[in-house]
Amino acid sequence: MSEQGLQTATGEAAGDRIRARSVVRGLGSSAWLVAAIALLVLFLLGMGRRLGYGAVDYLQLLVDGLQIGAVYALVALGFVVVYRVTGVINFTQGAFVMLGPMLAITLLARPPGGSALRLVLAAVVAVLLTAVIGMTIHRLTLHLARKASALTRIIITVGVYISVQGIALIVWGPRPYVLPAFTTFGMTDRLVHVGGLLVQAQTFWIWGTAAFTLALLALFFERTVVGKAMRACAVNRVAAQLMGIRVDRMATLAFGLAAVLGAVGGIVLSPATRPTYDMGLELGLKGFVAAIMGGLVSFPGAVVGALVLGVLESLWAGITLSGFKDIFAFVMLIIFLLVRPQGFLAGKGEVGH
């Protein structure tokens, strides 16, 4: 890794990871993995036939999978941002996913009633608040413990997650909340019928927001000085520091960015589900699995991993016992960790640690 890191540090392949073409190349180099996943899909499809599923049913599962997959993608990107800059798997990511919608709901509740504008305002303020919380958490915990081993720091983030979730339980209680849908496209029915498919209007918001956020993130890392500085920290901390980059400040910023991504993911998902104080655990873990599937350092990898995970999980949930839905992601986690910890997109990496 370090050799590759040096190589990229010279600037030859800088930015490679961000660009989509590396996805194609990466997928080519992991052909057998793609083949294995294709086999799994065929198996699931075959199982589905026994249940009498037709093409429409499969498309429905696909749409559902892409919906949740887009949310996993946002969460996964948060893991990747923090891991690249600090070398830590930030378990607190799940807390950000929960804080986003919960804060938005609280902001909307007082005074009651609200226009679409207020919803947007509440969402934006909630995202910013979550970012501030994220950066504060980093300053108070990981920043102070930055000399500790990677594992100690991971356990610290787990502890922070548990605390935040505990505080959320005290503040919001165990009941599920409702965040109003962003828009129903002027329809009374919140479902859009496309052919035989049922698509929630919110699904389009999820996809749209995810795509928009991804574009902004790409621009941030490609075009802004701060974004480039953050990437430099990922490539080589010491060199970045020697170039005058405030590495610690970048780490805090990475936490803020991860919090934004998590909160946005949580907020866009919430009208389609019902947010609770403990929603972050599941979404955080699934987002982490997606990040692992993408290799943990790659932005496009995380997105591909998230969409693949979302779709496969949806297929799996469609044909097995509903209670077993959550097993799938963890089986994938262990398989990927063991067989292909570098994710789909093995090959050139700019991350040094």
């Binding site: 830590v88 798997i89 915990t141 102070l144 413990a145 500790a148 081993s149 990677a150 594992l151 100690t152 720091r153 991971i154 356990i155 610290i156 787990v158 502890g159 922070v160 997650y161 548990i162 605390s163 935040v164 979730q165 505990g166 505080i167 339980l169 005290i170 209680g173 165990p174 655990l281 873990l285 982490f288 699995v289 692992i292 016992l321 209670g323 077993f324 959550d326 097993i327 963890f330 089986v331 986690l333 262990i334 960790l337 063991l338 910890p341």
Partner: protein
């Protein structure tokens, strides 16, 4: 040699303390119980649970503190043991086990031992595979394993028609243990059983730590490549210690099942796994004697939070427990990675020139 004798002295002292507390509770001189003396905080019930956790923590400390392999899914093995015992005693007829066998006094003991062996074997195989992973990858893999086991227990092992694990509601009516006609109940008797086994486990743990195996484990913690180069078969030893810790957790699970007489999957989920890590961290991961202290400290703290703090903070509608435990975990990992108890003990031992719990475990002193 001096190390050995100091271990034996400590074990004898611990045994005497166990006997003293148990004897006191059995006799209750003047009608005063432990609960009275401690203002309701320390009860025989709490001591039994501390003993059960001690058994798990000895294994976990060997794995995490000595071998340096983290497990965020240890509650899975605890749950496997508990459900093994619960299913094979309560649902024996469903499985076609004749009543003569299932009702015999030795059957639960056989199940307990069998479960420990099976869970140990299972985790040996699993450990062989997943312990190739390092640091955070291993942490996540064990976490995933824990969640998978929890879901399988919750979802009736995927066979709802048999209803073996009872789903969310778990299993009730697990029989008490007995030896021949002698019942291991009331609680005071069960206390002696649990703590007898806990002390045996501690003795086993100390034995492992002081043996060449212990030195090999610490070598792995320091550097796997270096350990390999001096002839330690690293993958085998890691799998073995993982299996030992799982078998101990399974044993504790069986003891828990026969103690509570009821088990539910939620006792063995993700958060309980973390609670075990908190206990281990408080007692000191690289310390066998940290196990009972960590377990006791956490259980007493839980009791304080439940009975004292909740009354002081009126606005609190939920429970304070997760907040405090999360914060505690963070603070310990940040400031005392070698554990509250063992850093104190280590200083004492260093002053006395004796053999502290973490002595010789220099790399472990820096935490994980």
């Amino acid at each position: 040699m001096r190390g050995l004798s100091s271990d034996i002295r400590a074990l004898v002292a611990a045994g005497a303390l166990v006997l003293l507390l148990g004897g006191f509770e059995m006799v209750r001189p003047g009608g005063i119980s432990l609960s009275h003396l401690s203002g309701g905080l320390v009860t025989i019930d709490l001591l039994i649970r501390a003993g059960i956790f001690t058994i798990i923590l000895v294994g976990l400390n060997l794995l995490m503190g000595y071998a340096g392999q983290v497990s965020l899914g240890q509650a899975a093995f605890y749950g496997m043991g508990a459900f093994f015992s619960a299913i094979l005693t309560v649902k024996a007829s469903v499985l076609g086990i004749p009543a003569v066998v299932a009702k015999a006094w030795w059957w639960p003991w056989l199940v307990m031992g069998g479960a420990a062996v099976l869970v140990g074997g299972f985790s040996f195989v699993v450990g062989w595979v997943i312990l190739r992973l390092r640091e955070h990858y291993l942490a996540m893999a064990t976490l995933g394993l824990g969640v998978i086991v929890y879901i399988v227990l919750r979802e009736n092992l995927g066979m709802p028609q048999l209803n073996l694990t009872g789903g969310f509601d778990g299993i009730v009516g697990i029989p008490r243990l007995r030896v021949g006609a002698l019942a291991m109940w009331p609680e005071a008797r069960y206390y002696f059983l649990v703590w007898g086994l806990a002390l045996l486990t501690i003795a086993l743990g100390l034995n492992v730590v002081r043996s060449p195996v212990g030195r090999a484990l610490r070598a792995i913690h320091g550097s796997e490549a270096a350990a390999e180069s001096v002839g330690v078969v690293v993958p085998l030893l890691k799998a073995q210690i993982f299996a030992l810790s799982a078998a101990l957790a399974s044993l504790a699970g069986s003891l828990y099942a026969h103690f509570q007489a009821a088990v539910v999957p939620d006792t063995f989920g993700f958060v309980p796994s973390l609670e075990l890590v908190v206990m281990s961290a408080i007692g000191g991961m690289a310390s066998i004697w940290g196990a009972p202290f960590g377990a006791l400290a956490v259980l007493v703290l839980q009791e304080v939070l439940r009975t004292r703090v909740l009354g002081l903070v009126p606005v609190v509608s939920g429970e304070m427990e997760p907040v405090v435990f999360g914060a505690l975990l963070v603070l310990i990992m940040m400031f005392w990675p070698s554990g509250l108890v063992s850093s104190y003990w280590g200083r004492m031992a260093a002053r006395g020139g004796g053999d502290g719990p973490a002595a010789g475990g220099a790399p472990s002193q820096q935490g994980l």
